[in-house]
C-alpha cells in the first residue's frame, strides 16, 4: 500500500496526475471527434455520390483499422507532415509535435468515425414531418437543422454517444505507446521501477473502472433528464 501513497515514497500523486491526463486526452479527443462528425455527417446524408463516397471512406477506414495503427501513422508520420507544410512557408528546422497532440488527434479521428455513425443514425430516425414542418414555416436549411433537428438528434443519440465516450476513454490507454504520461504509461514506469507490475496494472484497471463507471452514471442521468416525450 505504501507504493500507492502520495509524496516522495509512493506513486499516488503521479498516478493522480496521470488520471487527469487521461481525462483531458479523452475529452479533447471526444470533442475533436464530435467536431469532425459535424462536417462528415452532411457528406454521408448528401444526395451527391462523390460526397457520400468521401464520408463512407472516412468512417470505413477509421472504424476498420486498429487504433494502434492509426496512432503509429500519426506518431511517425505527423511531424514529417507538419515539416512538409512548414517547408513550403520557408521554415526548415526540425519540428516535433508533442505526444498529447498526436494522441488526441488520432483517438479523435477514430472517435469521430463512430460519432458520425451515431449522429447519422439519429438523423435518419427523425420523423420526416419535422423536416417538412420546418420547411413549410419558411425556415432556411441551416436554421432548421440547428434549431429544430439538432436538439432532437442530440437527445436521441445520448445512449450511443455514451458508448462512443466509453470507447474513446479506453482507447486513450493506447496513447501510452507514444510516451504520453497518462494512467497506462505512469503504471508502466512505476512497475518498471518497483518491479511490481501486478499492483500497478491492477490499480490502473481500477482507475479506468472508476472513470467508466462515473461517466456511465452521468450519461444515464443525462438520458433520464432529456427523455421526455413532447
Amino acid at each position: 500500500m505504501e507504493l500507492l501513497s502520495f509524496g516522495d515514497t509512493g506513486w499516488g500523486d503521479e498516478l493522480f496526475k496521470a488520471t487527469f491526463m487521461t481525462i483531458l486526452v479523452a475529452l479533447v479527443a471526444f470533442f475533436f471527434g464530435f467536431l469532425i462528425s459535424i462536417f462528415i455527417v452532411p457528406l454521408k446524408l448528401s444526395n451527391k455520390k462523390l460526397l457520400n463516397y468521401l464520408g463512407n471512406t472516412y468512417t470505413t477506414i477509421f472504424r476498420g483499422v486498429p487504433e494502434l495503427l492509426v496512432i503509429y501513422l500519426l506518431f511517425f508520420g505527423g511531424s514529417s507532415a507538419v515539416m512538409f507544410v512548414a517547408k513550403i512557408f520557408g521554415y526548415k528546422e526540425f519540428i516535433e509535435i508533442n505526444a498529447f497532440l498526436t494522441g488526441s488527434i488520432s483517438i479523435g479521428l477514430i472517435s469521430g468515425a463512430y460519432t458520425t455513425e451515431v449522429l447519422r443514425g439519429a438523423i435518419e430516425s427523425i420523423n420526416k414531418g419535422q423536416f417538412e414542418g420546418a420547411k413549410s414555416l419558411g425556415l432556411k436549411k441551416t436554421t432548421y437543422y440547428v434549431f429544430v433537428i439538432a436538439p432532437q438528434v442530440l437527445r436521441l443519440s445520448i445512449p450511443n454517444l455514451s458508448n462512443v465516450w466509453q470507447l474513446t476513454l479506453k482507447d486513450t490507454a493506447l496513447i501510452s505507446v507514444t510516451g504520453l504520461v497518462e494512467i497506462m504509461r505512469q503504471s508502466y514506469i512505476a512497475s518498471g521501477v518497483t518491479r511490481n507490475p501486478l499492483l500497478f496494472y491492477s490499480f490502473a484497471a481500477f482507475l479506468y473502472l472508476i472513470l467508466t463507471t462515473i461517466s456511465l452514471k452521468y450519461f444515464n442521468q443525462l438520458e433520464k433528464k432529456y427523455n421526455h416525450q413532447p
Partner: protein, 222 residues
C-alpha cells in the same frame, strides 16, 4: 514500395498470425460468452452476480490493461510460476489469447443476454404446453432465436476483436501491427505501410461482414 516488397513474407506470416489470434479468441470467447450469458439469466444469485461483475470489470477497463496484467502481472506471483499454468502463461501468444478471449467473452455475454431477454415469453409457454421438456425448449426454441437475433451485434464484436488483436504487438508478438511498426521504424515510411496494412485489416473486416450476412440469410426462417 521496396521495403514492403522486401518484407512481404514477414507481412504474410504476420497476417496469418493476426487471423489465428482472431479466430482462437473469438471461438473461446464465444464459449465463455454463452456460459456467462446463461449464468446471467439464471435464478441462482451467486451465478448472476459473478457473471455481472465479470462483464462489468472486463468491459469497464481497456483491453490494453488486461493483457498487461495477464502477461506482466501474473508472472510476478510465485505460486503461478511454480504451477503447471506457467507453461502457458510464460508464452506471450497464450497470454494474448487468454486476454482477448476473456475480453470478447464479456462483450459476447452481454450480447447474448439481451438476445435471451428479448425472447417472447409466449413462445416458451407454447413449447411447454406442447409437452417439450425445459431442456428441449431451450435447445430448439430459445437458443436458436437468441443467437439469430444477436448476429448483427455479434458481427460488430467480431470486428472489434479483430482490431483488438493489434494489441498482441505490445507483448512482443509480431502480428500485422507489430510488423507494421517494425517496418515503419526501420524504413520511416508510415503512410505507405498504413495504406498497405490498413487494407489487409479492412479486407479481414469485409470477410467477417460477409460471413455474418451469410449467417443472417441462412437463419432467416420466420
Amino acid at each position: 514500395m521496396k521495403p514492403l516488397i522486401d518484407n512481404f513474407p514477414d507481412l504474410l506470416k504476420s497476417a496469418l498470425l493476426t487471423l489465428e489470434l482472431t479466430i482462437f479468441s473469438i471461438l473461446i470467447g464465444l464459449l465463455i460468452g454463452l456460459i456467462f450469458s446463461l449464468m446471467r439469466i439464471s435464478k441462482i444469485k451467486i451465478l448472476y452476480f459473478f457473471s455481472y461483475y465479470y462483464s462489468f470489470v472486463f468491459r469497464g477497463t481497456p483491453l490494453f490493461v488486461q493483457i498487461f496484467i495477464i502477461y506482466f502481472g501474473l508472472a510476478q506471483l510465485e505460486f503461478i510460476r511454480d504451477s503447471i499454468l506457467w507453461a502457458v502463461l510464460k508464452k506471450p501468444y497464450w497470454c494474448a489469447i487468454i486476454a482477448f478471449a476473456l475480453n470478447t467473452g464479456a462483450y459476447t455475454s452481454e450480447i447474448f443476454r439481451s438476445g435471451f431477454e428479448k425472447i417472447d415469453k409466449n413462445l416458451v409457454e407454447a413449447a411447454n404446453s406442447l409437452g417439450l421438456s425445459n431442456l428441449k425448449t431451450f435447445l430448439t426454441i430459445t437458443l436458436p432465436i437468441a443467437i439469430k437475433r444477436s448476429l448483427p451485434a455479434y458481427g460488430n464484436e467480431m470486428i472489434l476483436m479483430l482490431k483488438g488483436t493489434s494489441l498482441a504487438s505490445t507483448v512482443t508478438l509480431l502480428d500485422l501491427t507489430g510488423t507494421a511498426k517494425y517496418i515503419i521504424s526501420t524504413h520511416f515510411n508510415p503512410v505507405e505501410v498504413f495504406i498497405f496494412v490498413g487494407s489487409i485489416y479492412l479486407f479481414f473486416t469485409f470477410l467477417i461482414h460477409t460471413f455474418i450476412k451469410y449467417l443472417e440469410r441462412k437463419f432467416r426462417y420466420y
